[in-house]
């Protein structure tokens, strides 16, 4: 005899039993896991920074903030420029006031919290500028640590954030050795440089590349051997930042110095 309780129980069991495999199998479909294509994508975006050419005008930072709607006065930015001053006593002075949004006009070095350090001209051994942006790593640690799949790497190598799915835990910010990520002051989700995805996917260059009057920044397709960026990377001596983390960064630098962090 079927009692009411047994009926309810069995009904639930059947419903759950049907729903479970359907939903669970979707997580780990071995075929799709295996389907990870290797080197099949026709485009792999990369970036070349020529630190010899950078003068620290900060036009790139300004353009980036406007192009990507990062609140202009907020103290965060998708890209920034660092100034390195090595003095004769061997010390390195580094700063990036307001992410270099207004460039470097002052000779003094910003020590944070409003303190400035004056360096005499004759004490300077060498000084240079280094632009920074997201490295769009081949092994992005920020993507690896996202608990919900809200940040990901597109087929063309660019790491993007899904603003409608990010829970705002900040693990990706912690996971990035380069400090490129931050919380967007308006959307309150993780935010990062994405090589102006809306521009490069239309055949344009990134806003920072267009804004740079000195050609210190270049974006290109690393899968295209005739791309100027690819040519330089293949034929010249270039370096990447913090290689020891195993992230395989895809932003290459000419003229990187050992002081660069």
């Amino acid at each position: 005899m079927i009692t009411r309780r047994r009926f309810c129980k069995n009904a639930l069991l059947v419903a759950g039993g049907i729903a479970m495999p359907l939903a669970a199998l979707e997580w780990f479909d071995p075929k799709r896991l295996h389907a990870e294509r290797k080197d099949a994508a026709p485009v792999r975006w990369g970036f070349l920074v020529d630190t010899y050419k950078c003068v620290g005008c900060g036009m790139c930072v300004k353009a980036c903030k406007i192009e990507n709607e990062t609140p202009y006065d907020a103290d965060v930015s998708r890209t920034w420029v660092e100034r390195y001053i090595v003095t004769k006593d061997g010390r390195t002075h580094i700063d990036s006031p307001k992410a270099a949004r207004d460039g470097f006009i002052d000779k003094r070095v910003d020590l944070g919290e409003g303190r400035m350090e004056t360096i005499r001209d004759e004490d300077i051994e060498k000084a240079f500028f280094v632009p920074k942006l997201c490295n769009q790593c081949d092994n992005p640690p920020c993507v690896q640590v996202c608990p919900v799949g809200a940040t990901y790497q597109a087929a063309d190598g660019v790491v993007l954030v899904d603003r409608s799915w990010c829970i705002g835990c900040g693990y990706c910010i912690m996971g990035c050795p380069y400090g490129v990520r931050f919380f967007h002051p308006v959307y309150h989700v993780a935010e990062k440089c994405n090589f102006c995805y809306h521009r490069i996917s239309k055949g344009m260059k990134t806003a920072c590349v267009d804004a740079c009057p000195f050609g210190a920044r270049l974006v290109g397709n690393l899968r295209n051997p005739d791309d100027p960026v690819t040519k330089v990377i293949m034929s010249e001596r270039v370096a990447v930042l913090k290689e020891e983390y195993g992230t395989k960064p895809q932003v290459f630098y000419r003229g990187l110095s050992r002081e660069v962090r």
């Binding site: 729903a19 669970a24 990870e36 010899y52 192009e67 240079f128 597109a154 806003a207 267009d210």
Partner: protein, 164 residues
């Protein structure tokens, strides 16, 4: 199954089943494993398109020259030739319809980004013709005397003479 020991397990299974059913409803259809595999490619595919659809603000010199060819060629042949129009004139989104005129940045600070002299020999910043902002006509707009579209020429303002 009359053993009461399994009762809590049944409750637990019901909860798990409920979560899995909610999952089917709450997770977007295009969420899944994409090109970069589960580690790097676990996401909602539709988001790529959302990023591609962001409005372009800086339209580059190619856009400006369609109407302002004269200025474009003048600038191109000057030492300032590599500076994008919109660096000083502001992003051209919506121009000329809305806004009809762009807000031109004539600030002294804009020029100082490159021309405030910094003695950095190992960077080309040290080679750019620069001034000391504290002593070189402090407070005056550079464009009063200098013509930005071609810095080799003098400013074409008559009132520049009045100021100096």
């Amino acid at each position: 199954m009359n053993n009461h020991v399994w009762r809590p397990l049944n409750v637990a299974l019901c909860i798990i089943a409920l979560i899995l059913i909610v999952r089917v409803v709450a997770v977007p259809r295009d969420f899944g494993i994409h090109d970069r595999g589960y580690m790097y490619g676990w996401y909602r595919l539709g988001n790529e398109k959302e990023w591609k659809n962001i409005r372009v603000k800086y339209k580059t010199n190619e856009y400006c020259k369609e109407c302002h060819r004269e200025k474009y060629t003048e600038l191109l042949s000057s030492p300032h030739g590599r500076i994008m129009c919109e660096d000083c004139h502001g992003p051209a989104l919506g121009h000329p319809e809305d806004p009809p005129t762009l807000t031109i940045n004539r600030e002294r600070k804009l020029c100082l980004r490159c021309h405030s002299r910094l003695p950095y020999k190992s960077s080309i910043r040290g080679n750019i013709r620069g001034i000391d902002p504290d002593t070189h006509n402090p407070g005056a707009e550079c464009v009063l005397c200098h013509y930005p579209h071609n810095p080799l020429k003098e400013a074409q303002h008559d009132h520049a003479a009045k100021v100096l």
